[in-house]
């Protein structure tokens, strides 16, 4: 009976994904430390206390009561960041704007707009994706509500926490835009309408701000501006994420951003190698999707595709290297690929196509933190920063490498052993 209870307890722990062990103080000793903010320390230590990195260097003495972890032969990286994610948001996220309402008759009906929705208010700490990400070395995800033209405000969340509120590093870091259409439910029914709608919203927001400011000063004798939550949400979002995968879309979206004076970040980026000059000169960061475009597996073998499409696929992994060379800030994002091993494989593809490994690590750590304005708190191994770390037994991009520990807010996690790969011919096929 007792043994059963024990087993159950162990099982519960396993299911919960390795509950954090005694929080507090750690000394990671004799590790190779990839700080990202500075040169690699070939042999050094990291002191963790109260969820923060207290010290980094050689010959550090452990603080009293600290757990000392011998990291000889191990490498410590800053925790990885998924720069545009849904990890930790409920799998069934259904903020559908005007779902159920009558079709929008124009921009004034604010179609496909939930700009006021905050991802920080929707976090589900029990989502399995959180543990999967953490076991794969991701300590942080920048999560955005999805599905609408103005989809809502993103949050930076750490990949561990008992309660949703504890996971939040920053609660409103930008507005996620798509250029989708209503799908037959009124305006907008085309890309033309979606872009025009975005433009009208920003004009309206500007006017709303002005009208409110004038009314604030002179409340007598002036008509009262109507409250508009769609515009409130837009005005609360200083950073705007715009979709741009191809070169044409990059040109289109940088032009729109500069016309509307938006502080924009583009996401997609597979053809960004063609637009490095424009991106560099317009100071536009890019989030590069780690889901490279490829021919659909069930595509008609006789399908004749244009060279443009073939070239886009062929060259997509070269985009990160080209951006790095041009000095354009860029970060990687998962784009629906939820297995961290697949993500590392995709980054490796970019490295094989010319991206320096150090730049690859930066695009998974410090650069996304900087893009979202929290570079002082996460993204590198520096004293005072949040203790988000990943400890591996080798190079991050080597497929043989195993992750030994992940630290999130100073709490240590050990990944569950990976399931052995199914032998060919056995087990369920996909």
């Amino acid at each position: 009976m007792r043994r059963t209870v024990c087993r159950l307890a162990l099982l519960a722990m396993a299911v919960n994904g390795m509950r954090a062990q005694a929080p507090g103080r750690y000394l990671l000793r004799d590790a190779r430390i990839v700080r990202v903010s500075g040169p690699v320390l070939e042999r050094g230590s990291v002191v963790i206390r109260n969820g923060l990195i207290e010290a980094v260097g050689a010959n550090l003495t452990p603080p009293p009561g600290a757990w000392v972890i011998d990291c000889n032969g191990l490498t410590v990286y800053p925790g990885l960041i998924d720069a545009l994610s849904t990890w930790g948001l409920p799998s069934q996220s259904g903020a559908g704007g005007r779902n159920g309402a009558s079709p929008a008759a124009g921009p004034e009906d604010r179609p496909l707009t939930v700009s006021w929705v905050k991802a920080a208010d929707q976090i589900a700490p029990s989502e399995r994706a959180i543990q999967t990400a953490r076991d794969g070395g991701y300590t942080t995800a920048v999560v955005f509500p999805r599905g609408n033209i103005f989809s809502g405000q993103g949050a930076v969340i750490n990949m561990a926490g008992e309660r949703a509120g504890q996971m939040v590093v920053a609660d409103s870091v930008g507005q996620f835009l798509t250029l989708r259409t209503s799908g037959g439910r009124g305006y907008p029914a085309s890309l033309l309408g979606s872009i025009a709608y975005v433009r009208q919203i920003y004009l309206d927001a500007e006017h709303y701000k002005t009208a409110k400011a004038i009314y604030e000063k002179h409340q007598e004798g002036l008509p009262r501006p109507a409250y508009d939550r769609a515009l409130e949400g837009v005005l609360d979002s200083s950073l705007v994420l715009l979709p741009a995968e191809t070169a044409i879309e990059i040109e289109r979206m940088t032009a729109l951003a500069s016309e509307l004076k938006l502080k924009a970040v583009l996401y997609g980026g597979h053809e960004a190698w063609r637009e490095t000059e424009l991106l560099q000169q317009s100071h536009t960061p890019v989030l590069v999707s780690l889901k490279y475009p490829e021919r659909a597996r069930d595509a008609d073998p006789a399908l004749d595709e244009p060279v443009r499409v073939l070239r886009l696929r062929e060259n997509a992994p070269a985009a990160p290297g080209a951006l790095a060379k041009a000095g354009v800030p860029f970060a990687f994002y998962s784009d629906g690929v939820n297995n961290p091993r697949d993500l590392m494989r995709a980054v490796k593809k970019a490295i094989d196509a010319g991206l320096a490994p150090a730049d690859a690590i930066r695009a998974l750590t410090l650069t996304p933190a900087e893009i979202y304005g929290i570079g002082k708190r996460i993204g590198s191994i520096d004293p005072g920063k949040i203790a988000n770390l990943v400890v591996t037994d080798g190079d991050l991009f080597n497929p043989e490498t195993k992750i030994k520990y992940t630290f999130v807010d100073g709490n240590k996690f050990e990944p569950l052993p990976e399931e052995p790969p199914a032998r060919p011919g056995r087990g369920p096929s996909r």
Partner: protein, 445 residues
């Protein structure tokens, strides 16, 4: 656009005139506006520098022997939907807030194919799903450049209107023929009366909007406190129409709807720049001519829908004789490749002269788009948008050999043919490589 981006775009754009001068000698030069010259034409610094029996070739000029060949101005298509990633915003009956400039696709292969058919300038229009459609613009087919660099500098912007079956076809896909219903345009209007109502209502709103700004400006000049009106992207272009700063291109077929629009425009005080298609325009040629409105029509398309039943191939010729500026347009990525042959039909039907027929696809559409100072004929000082043919352009047997825009070569038939094996092998390499990469993954059971 911020200054840096703008500077970047400018610096990316090749300086016009950076190309070596080109002289075509011993050719038959169809100027369209000043008769036929047997001699030479010189393209220099992006412009036509000289035309005459004897023109001295400047140093470094590329000399082309035009013996037996014909030279004509680049073709202008006054109605095209190429190079756009979207055509219609059909969910609303007035979609003047949308703009074709937002969805340009400078890599649309139809551009190159049009170029191979001699088209150098195209009026890129919104579709005809609604009575008042989106904002339009004029592009030069500078294949290989980005959208910004292809815009026709200085051309006045336009807007698309549409009358008749398409805007009133509630819930049906444009094109008819029993196509499945399109839920995107399940909206008013459902009749021609409704189409008129939508246009009148929109301009009534536009006038009120115009007045609200005038009122605001008056208040602020008097020093009174006022909150400015909110900018309305739907009404702004209509105010521009009222102020004569935006050209109206109206899709229409029947004489009754043509008269309706002309009268409504008279009443609201704006002009219809062109009637597009206007297959029954010959019935009301005088009313159209009186207002200085142009007609951009098909050569002989007929009976593809109810409202096209009364079309006659003499439309262009009759309107021309009645003093209307007429052009032949394509409205189609295939037809745009042989507009020269479409123009030729007006010689057969209606007896236009060869020059008049060529005018239908050159100087006339240029006049309609108010770009006739820059393009549309071979005149010294105009943009060097020039075609070289191996025979008379109106002959079915003639082909476009070369196309220049602003004096730069954008199409060369021989080069195209010679480059095909190399392009095919590049494509094969890409296909093979992709297949090889996918193969191992396919082995999983």
């Amino acid at each position: 656009m911020n200054k840096l981006t703008w500077l970047a775009l400018v610096s990316l754009a090749p300086a016009i005139g950076a190309d070596a001068p080109v002289i075509i000698q011993n050719a038959t030069i169809l100027t369209v506006t000043n008769g036929t010259v047997r001699g030479s034409i010189l393209l220099q610094n992006g412009k036509i520098a000289a035309i005459g029996e004897r023109v001295t070739a400047p140093e470094g000029a590329t000399v082309i022997d035009g013996a037996g060949k014909y030279v004509m101005p680049g073709i202008i298509d006054c109605h095209s939907h190429i190079m756009a990633d979207a055509i219609n915003e059909g969910a609303v009956s007035v979609s003047s807030m949308v703009a074709m400039t937002d969805v340009l696709n400078p890599e649309d292969i139809a551009i190159y194919r049009a170029l191979a058919g001699g088209v150098t300038t195209a009026n890129i229009l919104h579709g005809s799903a609604n009575p008042i459609g989106g904002k339009t613009l004029v592009m030069k087919l500078r294949w290989g450049r980005n959208a910004e660099e292809m815009k026709f500098a200085g051309a006045m912007p336009g807007i698309k209107f549409a009358l008749g079956e398409n805007p009133k076809r509630r819930g049906n896909a444009p094109g008819g023929g029993g196509a499945p219903p399109n839920p995107a345009n399940l909206r008013y209007p459902a009749t021609r009366m409704g189409v008129e109502d939508v246009i009148r209502e929109a301009f009534t709103q536009a006038k009120a909007y115009q007045a609200s700004w005038e009122d605001y400006r008056a208040k602020t000049t008097r020093g009174e406190l006022a909150i400015p009106p909110a900018r309305d992207l739907k009404l702004e272009p209509l105010v521009e129409v009222l102020e004569g700063k935006r050209l109206v291109h109206a899709h229409c077929y029947r004489q009754d709807e043509i008269l309706m629009l002309l009268h409504a425009a008279d009443e609201f005080g704006f002009k219809i720049r062109t009637l597009q298609h206007a297959l029954e325009a010959y019935k009301v040629a005088k009313e159209i001519a009186d207002r200085g409105t142009g007609v951009s029509t098909f050569a002989d398309w007929w009976d593809y829908k109810m409202e096209a039943e009364d079309a006659i191939p003499y439309n262009a010729a009759i309107l021309t004789r009645k003093g209307v500026v007429v052009s032949i347009n394509s409205d189609d990525p295939e037809l745009i490749r042989h507009l020269d042959k479409e123009a030729a039909k007006a010689v057969r039907y209606g007896g236009l002269s060869e020059t008049e027929a060529l005018s239908l696809i050159t100087i006339n559409p240029a006049k309609q788009l108010l770009i006739d100072k820059q393009v549309g004929s071979l005149e010294v000082g105009k943009d060097a948008d020039v075609l070289l043919y191996d025979g008379h352009p109106l002959s079915n047997f003639s082909k476009v050999l070369k196309v220049w825009i602003d004096g730069r070569e954008y199409f060369d038939r021989d080069q195209d043919l010679a480059g095909r094996p190399q392009k095919q092998s590049e494509k094969k390499d890409l296909v093979d490589k992709a297949a090889a990469e996918q193969r191992p993954a396919r082995q999983t059971p």
